[in-house]
């Protein structure tokens, strides 16, 4: 029952964001944001109620992971919006929150997870990795907004999007900050993962397909940070990198299904 209620509230939020996209009335944006907050709170309480012990942390099956991702994304997005509502970021993020929520409720909430995996390290590993992905998503969103606004300014187009996107400098610094945070979290996720693997299998690296894909993600964002710090890349180029980076994140996250075997096969 609550599952459907959360869905309806998220849908209402998306509806108001879409109405704002067409009619550009601030009251619509605020309503959409309030619905999002309400949906987030309900969704979170439902998620937390399902956890009784570290072993019951709903991260052992795809449905739970998706739900967790949707919650973390909502949490970080809301935190960013409290200072100032940025409509353009909402147009991208709210559908994503809803999308991952729908996936989570349509997937079965049981998995074939080996019981010996269930240790306290596992939820920590998942939380860090998910947080990393959330910040990479936001860096993708800010990067996409940057590219759109840059195009507006270069080609002197002043359509619907021009006024709803923050300034280039703000977007660029937000893009940088989210990549920094995402990179930190994904690093922590990889570290906790390898400690866990060391305990279970006695080796920190197993050339598991997911490990390799995640390493590629890590390398790409490491390149981003390097280019920014050492070569002074900024603006369009780094925005493009952050968009490409998130494409790779999606591949690393779902593409794992395409390659059989490995230790992450429960997901």
């Amino acid at each position: 029952m609550m599952k459907i209620l959360v869905l309806i509230i998220y849908l209402a939020s998306l509806l108001f964001y879409l109405l704002h996209l067409f009619f550009n009335k601030r009251s619509l944006l605020i309503t959409g944001f309030l619905f999002l907050c309400a949906g987030f709170l309900l969704h979170t309480s439902r998620f937390i109620m399902g956890i009784n012990s570290p072993e019951s942390f709903p991260a052992y099956y795809m449905g739970g992971v998706m739900s967790f991702f949707s919650i973390l994304l909502g949490c970080v997005f809301i935190a960013y919006q409290i200072k100032e509502l940025v409509p353009a970021l909402g147009y991208i993020t709210v559908p994503a929150i809803l999308f991952f929520y729908i996936i989570s409720i349509s997937l079965p909430h049981t998995g074939s997870f080996r019981p010996e995996f269930k240790t306290i390290l596992f939820p920590i590993h998942v939380t860090f990795s998910m947080a990393g992905y959330v910040f990479f998503f936001l860096s993708f969103a800010t990067g996409a907004c940057y590219l759109l606004q840059e195009r507006n300014l270069k080609f002197k187009l002043f359509g619907w999007s021009f006024k709803r996107i923050p300034s280039l400098v703000e977007l660029d610094s937000m893009n940088y900050r989210t990549v920094q945070l995402g990179f930190t979290f994904i690093t922590l996720g990889m570290l906790t993962g390898s400690i866990w693997s060391q305990r279970l299998w006695g080796s920190i690296w197993n050339w598991d397909p997911k490990e390799v894909l995640t390493l590629m993600v890590w390398l790409l964002y490491a390149t981003y940070l390097h280019l920014r710090l050492i070569l002074g890349w900024k603006g369009r180029k780094t925005a493009i990198l952050s968009v490409i980076g998130f494409m790779l994140v999606i591949v690393a996250f779902f593409g794992r299904k395409l390659v059989p075997g490995g230790y992450h096969d429960y997901i």
């Binding site: 300014l153 002197k156 002043f158 300034s167 280039l168 400098v169 703000e170 603006g235």
Partner: protein, 433 residues
Amino acid sequence: MTTFEEQNLLVHGTSFRTSPLDVREALALRKSEDEKLLHKIKTTLDVEECVILSTCNRVEFIIYRNHPEEIIDGIIKINEERAGFPLKKEYFYNFFGKEAVKHIFRVTSSLDSMVLGEPQITGQVKTAYESSLKFGFVRKNLRKVFERAFFVAKRVRNETAIGENPNSVSSQAVELAESIFGDLSKRKAIVIGTGEMGEIAIKSFLSRGISKLYITSRTIERAEELCSIYSGEVLPFKDLYRGLEEVDIVLCSSAAPHYLITKNDIKNVMKKRRGNPLFLIDISLPRNIDPEVGKVDNVYLYHIDDLQQIVDKNIKKRKEEAIKSEAIVEEEVEKFFKRINEEKIGPIIARVYEIADFIRRKELEELFKMLGEISESQKKAIEDFSVNVVKKILHTPATKVKEWARNGDSYLAETFFTLFGVEDEAESRNEGK
């Protein structure tokens, strides 16, 4: 209690539409002249309520008094004394009653402004109103009109996009700069050349609080002069490229016959800027910045023609929004008078109820006398019954009369009151005042 009388309201004024600038300048309020002038109008023309609005585009006297048409010549005379030269009658316009209310609403909503939708006028009207209020020249009649005018202005601003898009080249340039840099207060700008257009743009950027302004020109005297006015810093022309590495915004309004800044120059500059965006505005004719410069990464180049094109589109949009705004004003004027009429009718309807109640009590007294001994509860039942009968009979006519009054059907309303004998009382009351 007297109510708002439509015919007592007068707007007497002159604006950019009816008089030349020197006339408006001569009539504009001097510093702290308002109190003296208000008192003068009061003593010589017997005016209790008056607001004087004075901006660079208009001077208006908004007056509420009996037979305001009688004092128009008087105001002109006072203004001739102030100006020190005779004033032609055709410089001035006079609006009465409904037209006056509409004019005040339109002015406050910036629909009568030279620059359609410019935001300052609402604040200027507010200041004028508040200063009159402070000196005791606003009573409940003008308060009603002005409070409503501010509400209408707010509605127009909220419900239409009349003030949304910049309508001058310099404010459009500022908006573009803000869409690149956000807050401009930590940004630096450089001005190349000392043309007039450049000066206007400098003012707009300074109003957004940019932190540093360099001025460079091949004639150093003129640059120094501008620097002293706008507290900028002179940058020798040979150091231009050093300046370009440091600043965020470049305003070029030089009169050079060739390009001062080329693509290669900017490419070199950008290497040293570590990817920080650079916004260039070329206000010169012919161009002083090579259009190819705009193709360099993180560089945004706008020529005055680009800006003018955007502004033209914006102005077109504003004009479309003005049509919506006029409709809002029309609607609000109607509402305003409906409310006034309703307020007027209120006390008279109350009088009808009083008369009916008086009859009811008299009849009730006689009835009780006739009935002799009856219990308290019976007495109460009969009394409640009589109250209900009067209320129910009067309810429909009273509602109808309010509706007529709202719509200005005063003839029907008067007929109703005649039937109840209220009319004579009202007349004698008015005469007594």
